[in-house]
């Protein structure tokens, strides 16, 4: 890791003022489970690191209005321990998938949303788009974990956050602050597919800080997350799906279906949502939603299996939401 200046402000405003408006010059530090490994690998080389730990208002998870507020410094363990979070099944199931006590204790929920892609070309210093002689190395390279949707190029990595699909399905918002003030946006709008090397996969400006996540009430909703995981030991899921269904009797009135690890952004599937609308959460409808979710998938040379895995994740998430057992 390169030498850097470390600041530990106690106010959001001071933290935002300490950030550069230019990409890569400064970095925000939450739990550091991602940032520090990027810095050690010299993939991220900020000259100044601004730690958020000292800002009291960023800590904690609490009920707020009818919903819940997750402060930017609230950890995954805080979430698992929180009474306020208990009703958000989709979120809790995602949290339980991160099995490492160390990551749970240090990693924050907001940091999870903003973690950089785990693409091994990126982590090996080849850039987010893995360009080599004007071409991405991914489509014909080692792409078993890469995107099957939203992969028309030049980006092929996948969004790695388990919480993002859940929070998008739950209709959550984030509050973002810079030195001038605050703005709110849906979690979904945090993400974008970069179009050129040097562009990020999130829409935050380099001098903005996420200060909280606001999750609305889920009363009347059935929610669930299913992650396809190869190991129980801390591992990345191969595909995930979070669903939230607002029920009207036994039928789905509104559905949100969001997949993780399938595209450079958390991938909302309107096809799967349509497949569920006005129907019950039966196994057959779950299966149909799973099929619809990946109907448009365009796998690369080595990740065909992911199409099936993502479809199964959606199917099983729907089954879980319907209170059924999955296997």
């Amino acid at each position: 890791m390169r030498n850097f200046e470390y600041l530990a402000p106690t106010q959001v405003k001071a933290a935002a003022q300490a950030l550069s408006e230019h990409e890569g010059v400064t970095a925000v530090l939450a739990g550091g489970t991602d940032l520090l490994s990027l810095m050690k690998q010299r993939v991220a080389n900020p000259q100044r690191v601004v730690g958020l730990r000292g800002i009291r208002e960023l800590h904690g998870i609490a009920k707020q209005g009818g919903g819940m507020r997750i402060g930017a410094m609230a950890t995954i363990q805080d979430l698992l321990d929180s009474k306020a979070a208990g009703a958000y099944t989709a979120l809790m199931q995602a949290a339980k998938g991160i099995t490492s006590p160390q990551i749970r204790a240090m990693g924050t929920v907001v940091g999870d949303l903003l973690q950089r892609p785990r693409c091994w070309y990126y982590r090996n210093g080849h850039g987010l788009l893995a360009m080599h002689e004007g071409k991405s190395m991914v489509p014909n390279g080692e792409n078993r974990y890469h995107a099957i949707l939203g992969n028309k190029g030049p980006a092929y990595f996948v969004s790695a956050s388990s919480f993002a699909p859940a929070l998008i399905a739950l209709g959550a918002q984030v509050t973002v602050a810079d030195a001038e003030g605050e703005r709110q946006m849906p979690v979904k709008d945090l993400f974008r597919i970069p179009g050129a090397e040097g562009e990020r996969e999130n829409t935050l400006k380099p001098n903005e800080i996420v200060i909280e996540i606001l999750v609305p009430s889920v009363s009347g909703w059935k929610t669930a997350t299913y992650e396809v995981r190869q190991r129980r030991l801390l591992d990345w899921p191969l595909a995930t799906a979070s669903v939230a269904c607002r029920m009207s009797g036994n039928n789905v009135r509104d559905a949100r279906v969001v997949m993780g690890h399938v595209a450079p952004i958390p991938w909302r599937s309107s096809e799967a949502e349509t497949a569920l609308k006005s129907k019950g959460l039966s196994d057959g409808n779950a299966e149909a939603a799973g099929k619809a979710a990946v109907a448009a998938a365009t796998p690369l040379s080595g990740n065909k299996a992911k199409v099936q895995l993502a479809g199964v994740a959606v199917k099983r998430a729907v089954m879980l939401a319907g209170g059924r057992s999955v296997v």
């Binding site: 078993r144 030991l233 080595g302």
Partner: protein, 720 residues
């Protein structure tokens, strides 16, 4: 004929073969045990490697001018020089030292190595493509046994299939490396090594090539390794980084630490060769195997690698017609090193998997099939016994179903098995045992404990021989100045070190008995040491406590020497063991995810010295086996030539939650008269084949290559 060095008869054993806690457990649990990685000497410098990002090329220039200006820089040495060729990404080019680890990293990053790129190749599974890249050479073409054509003619059922497993790495928990402290003429090396006694000569030779240093003698070098964190066959040599570390210590006059980081460890410090190939097997209708034919290929890096021992175990030259062809693929990846039971795990996959497929075709239960063919092995009686025992442990009778006959839900359950063998002959060993006037006993030799139980086995042997308890024995190992003992590789340590220890202890006791005999007025030959006493067998009232007996030495210390081998041997050890493993798995056929329910392992190693440590070796091998059966794989990218998963995030090992229930049975009191035989390698051989066979049994189709990842399982199901 019995000699005085024989192992005690079973009824006379109070410690051998029993269950003991490992003596170094508490230090390790408390964190008091100092591994090489833990050594931090006063004034010590930190060194880092500069490695090649290029998989194949020629060094044009090395510019250290910027690095030398980095804060804290203390010196550097070249490992390679302009003009030298690089054959794999991650190859060590230079080592650089600084006052802190951070500065050393900064300095390493400031070195500019200019490399002319040459064509590289890192893939071998597609052997046709590798051939087009001019990377393939024939390595073996061999026929044995009865006439092959006639055997195929006579075969009533045949099976042909493609099988394989990729390159994996050792991924030692403690990476390779050392701290070197060179003061005056003395070179102390705290090395993470499997070969304490061998490193001095290795290092001295390497250093003597450096003209600025001049001649270095092995006798100047002291290697200190009381504890080490795993080698699996990859830590026999001082390596370039060890020599560079010593050169830096000489140059700077300071102790220098150079331990590889995870990326380096996984990329260059050892890999296990792959193996892929087409195998054809044939049998009579009654299940008798008559022919085995294979065409395989593999890579072990740029030098390639020879053929695995095929067919494995079922290799009777008189009864089985065999034809083996092997091709060697040369790739620009980190070079192969011995990996726990070199070549056997691959051979097991390439034999046991086609044979289980053949059994399925024959509509035979694999247990019956393998038992029937045990006559084709070197030790039929052992395998038959072990197969039955293992089947009982895994409840084969009740749980096994015919292939594909595993219910209607998405999760299928299956059972599979594999057999293995290993040599494990003892290495050479010299031991010195001292009995002090204060009653203290020490056992000394330049051996090492890789975490496997050497401290404990030597304590057990000495204590058993002297009629003492385990804590009464002080073990001095992990130092090259002690009497020479072999490197720990190939399961040779326990046989070698227990034999030299037994002999040395018997000899020392004999001398003590002489002193006691005189003072008790009995014949030395009538004396026996047991329960902290030395007493006359003919009259147990003639007795001295151990402490009083030793007091009779006055101020003299007894030293007993023992050697392995020794012409006056007795049957203290042997080689050649058999083992059987069976796996019970569940496969989610919608996701391709395999869950291990249980693995049962039966292992013969002659005389078991420490039951718990032997079992632990098997547990470790099974856990490691689950990893390479299901998860573990070095993934190389052809464009960049790099190993993409040189970390522990995507280089996946198994965790406690992934291994299911493990049950181990050590065969005891059956082959004890063979003496002690090594245990390190044998149990590491079968897990991949047994798990692959269980998966095939569960889902009804063979997943040809390991690791059995979800994508491979789904592809096999889709093809079926």
């Amino acid at each position: 004929m019995a000699t005085k060095y024989d192992w005690p008869a079973v009824e006379d054993r109070s410690l051998i073969g029993k269950r003991h806690d490992r003596v170094d457990g508490p230090e390790k649990a408390r964190g008091d045990a100092k591994y090489s990685y833990d050594r931090n000497l006063s004034g010590m410098l930190f060194a880092r490697l500069v490695t090649s990002p290029v998989p194949h090329g020629r060094i044009i220039g090395i510019d250290t001018s910027r690095a030398e200006k980095v804060k804290g820089y203390k010196g550097h040495v070249n490992i390679l020089n302009p003009g030298d060729e690089i054959q794999w990404a991650g190859k060590e080019v230079l080592a650089i030292a600084a006052d802190t680890e951070e500065h050393a990293r900064d300095a390493a990053h400031a070195v500019a190595v200019n490399i002319e790129k040459l064509d590289h190749w890192v893939k071998e599974e597609d052997v046709k493509k590798a051939g087009e890249a001019n990377r393939v050479k024939p390595a073996k073409d061999d026929a044995k046994g009865p006439d092959l054509a006639a055997a195929w003619e006579g075969a009533e059922v045949t099976h042909e299939g493609y099988y394989g497993l990729g390159v994996i790495t050792h991924c030692c928990l403690e990476p390779h490396g050392q701290v070197v402290d060179w003061t005056g003429d003395d070179i102390k090396v705290y090395a993470s090594t499997q070969a304490v006694a061998r490193i001095p000569a290795d290092l001295a030779k390497g250093l003597s090539r450096d003209e600025s240093i001049g001649r270095v003698e092995a006798g100047q070098v002291e290697v200190i390794t009381p504890y080490m964190g795993g080698g699996f066959g990859s830590k026999f040599n001082i390596d370039t980084w060890g020599i560079a570390c010593a050169q830096l210590s000489k140059k700077t006059g300071k102790p220098v630490k150079l331990m590889l980081d995870r990326n380096e460890e996984v990329t260059v410090a050892g890999s296990r060769p792959s193996d892929y190939g087409n195998v054809k097997v044939g049998a009579k209708k009654d299940g008798t195997i008559v022919a085995y034919e294979s065409e395989t290929w593999s890579t072990g890096g740029i030098a390639g690698r020879g053929s695995p021992p095929l067919p494995y175990i079922f290799d009777n030259d008189e009864k089985l017609a065999q034809k083996i062809r092997h091709l060697n693929v040369s790739t620009n990846i980190g070079p192969a090193r011995a990996w726990r039971a070199p070549n056997h795990p691959q051979a097991a996959v390439l034999t046991m998997c086609p044979l289980e497929d053949l059994a399925a075709k024959l509509d035979m239960d694999p247990v019956e099939f393998f038992k029937k063919n045990a006559d084709l092995t070197a030790r039929p009686e052992v395998y038959r016994y072990e197969i039955d025992k293992c089947a009982e442990m895994i409840d084969w009778k009740n749980k096994w179903r015919k292939r594909g006959d595993s219910g209607s839900g998405p999760v299928k359950r299956g059972l599979g098995m594999s057999l293995h063998t290993w040599g494990g002959r003892p290495h050479d060993s010299t031991c010195e045992v001292r009995i002090e006037p204060d009653g203290g006993v020490s056992v000394s030799m330049a051996s090492q404990d890789l975490g496997v139980g050497t401290y404990t086995t030597l304590s057990v042997v000495a204590a058993e021989t002297l009629g003492l308890d385990i804590p009464d024995i002080r073990i001095n190992i992990g130092n090259s100045k002690l009497p020479i003992s072999g490197a720990s590789g190939g399961s040779t340590t326990v046989g070698g070190t227990t034999a030299s220890t037994r002999r040395a202890t018997v000899n020392a006791l004999e001398e003590l008995k002489g002193v006691v005999a005189e003072s008790l007025g009995v014949e030395a030959g009538d004396l026996m040491a047991k329960d902290h006493k030395i007493f006359a067998k003919s009259d147990s009232s003639k007795s001295l406590s151990w402490a009083d007996a030793c007091k009779k030495l006055g101020n003299r210390t007894i030293t007993g020497q023992g050697k392995q081998p020794d012409r006056d041997g007795g049957k203290l050890n042997d080689s050649g063991v058999g083992g059987v493993q069976m796996a019970d798995v569940s496969v989610d056929t919608e996701t391709g995810i395999v869950t291990i329910n249980k693995i049962a392992a039966v292992q013969d190693v002659g005389l078991v010295v420490c039951l718990k440590q032997s079992e632990s070796q098997v547990y470790g091998a099974l856990i490691q086996g689950v990893a390479w059966a299901l998860y573990e794989e070095s993934i190389y990218d052809q464009t960049s030539g790099k190993m993409l998963n040189a970390d522990m995030e995507f280089y996946k090992l198994s965790g406690a939650g992934d291994i299911g229930e493990l049950e181990v049975h050590m065969v005891q009191n059956k082959y004890d008269d063979r003496g002690v035989i090594g245990i390190g390698e044998p149990p590491a051989i079968s897990p991949g084949a047994a798990i692959s066979n269980a998966v095939a049994n569960a889902i009804g189709v063979r997943v040809p290559t390991l690791p059995l990842t979800p994508d491979r399982i789904l592809a096999a199901l889709a093809d079926a």
